[in-house]
């Protein structure tokens, strides 16, 4: 039984490591901050969670601890990427675009106008 779990853990860890590698590659290849963040948040969540839970499967006595670490990654990863994206937008980094699609710009202008009116 433990043998099977250990092999399953190895497979899960390997998948995680592959996704982590692809995430790193994405950060290098993508054209701007936001798309890089996409690679950094998407491909690496499955990577990190896979690697950590895989280790937990190889050592069943750690399984709950590693699950909690994975849970915290799932909770904190999107919040940090939101903060980074919002921060980079507010200091004026433009979105790399083929065709201009930017609903956020208009919304920010509207909020600013309302603040000035008050």
């Amino acid at each position: 039984m433990y043998q099977i779990l250990e092999y399953a853990g190895m497979v899960v860890t390997t998948i995680g490591v592959i996704f982590l590698f692809l995430g790193g590659l994405g950060v290098l290849r993508m054209p701007d901050v936001y798309t890089r963040m996409q690679a950094g948040t998407k491909a690496t969540t499955l990577g990190a969670v896979g690697a950590i839970v895989g280790v937990g499967m190889m050592h069943p006595e750690w399984f709950f601890k590693t699950s909690i670490i994975a849970l915290f990654i799932l909770l904190s990863n999107p919040i940090s990427s939101h903060a980074l994206a919002r921060g980079s937008y507010k200091i004026g980094i433009k979105v790399w675009q083929k065709k201009k699609i930017d609903a956020y710009e208009d919304a920010l202008k509207k909020v600013k106008k309302e603040e000035e009116a008050v």
């Binding site: 996704f19 692809l22 994405g26 939101h82 979105v95 956020y104």
Partner: protein, 162 residues
């Protein structure tokens, strides 16, 4: 009171998972520590208290976890496939998505779920509109975006948090 009880139970479960042991001494210390923290911080941590443990909410939470993990795996594969292609097929932009959720916790859960799924990243929430950086924009109509991006999660989150 129900808020303190709820946070006590959550803290205690975390303690048991972290220590991974059922030794009475461990459990005793865990109960004591979780009780103290629950009294100090319980009111700040949750708004609904024991209502969070109602059968309906637990049932939807479990179903939501399955939906969420499936979407997350799809998201990871999608982005990974884009990365390894010689010319990266992207058409990024920031789109607006309306939401009907009212409570802050529910909006947070929705924004986090969206960030973890295919090619979408929540940049900001203003009132009841989410602004989402989408790696491959398919339409600019907020209603269609709602269907495409967030309707999968929204019905579950509505049941869980409201």
């Amino acid at each position: 009171m129900s808020r303190i009880l709820f946070s006590f139970i959550v803290f205690f479960l975390f303690w048991v998972a972290l220590t991974s042991s059922l030794d009475p001494q461990e459990l005793g210390v865990g109960a004591l520590v979780s009780l103290i923290i629950a009294f100090l911080a319980g009111k700040e941590i949750t708004e609904d208290g024991m209502k969070n443990f109602s059968f309906r909410r637990i049932q939807y939470t479990i179903r939501y976890l399955f939906v969420f993990f499936w979407e997350m795996i799809k998201a990871n594969l999608d982005v990974a496939m884009r990365i390894i292609q010689p010319v990266i097929p992207i058409n990024p932009g920031i789109v607006e998505v309306p939401t009907k959720l009212k409570s802050n916790v529910a909006k947070l859960a929705l924004a986090n779920s969206i960030t973890l799924t295919p090619g979408t990243l929540t940049v900001d929430i203003i009132d009841d509109k989410l602004y989402i950086h989408w790696i491959d924009v398919k339409s600019e109509n907020p209603e269609e975006n709602f269907k495409e991006i967030s309707s999968v999660f929204e019905k579950y989150i509505k049941e869980i948090f409201e």
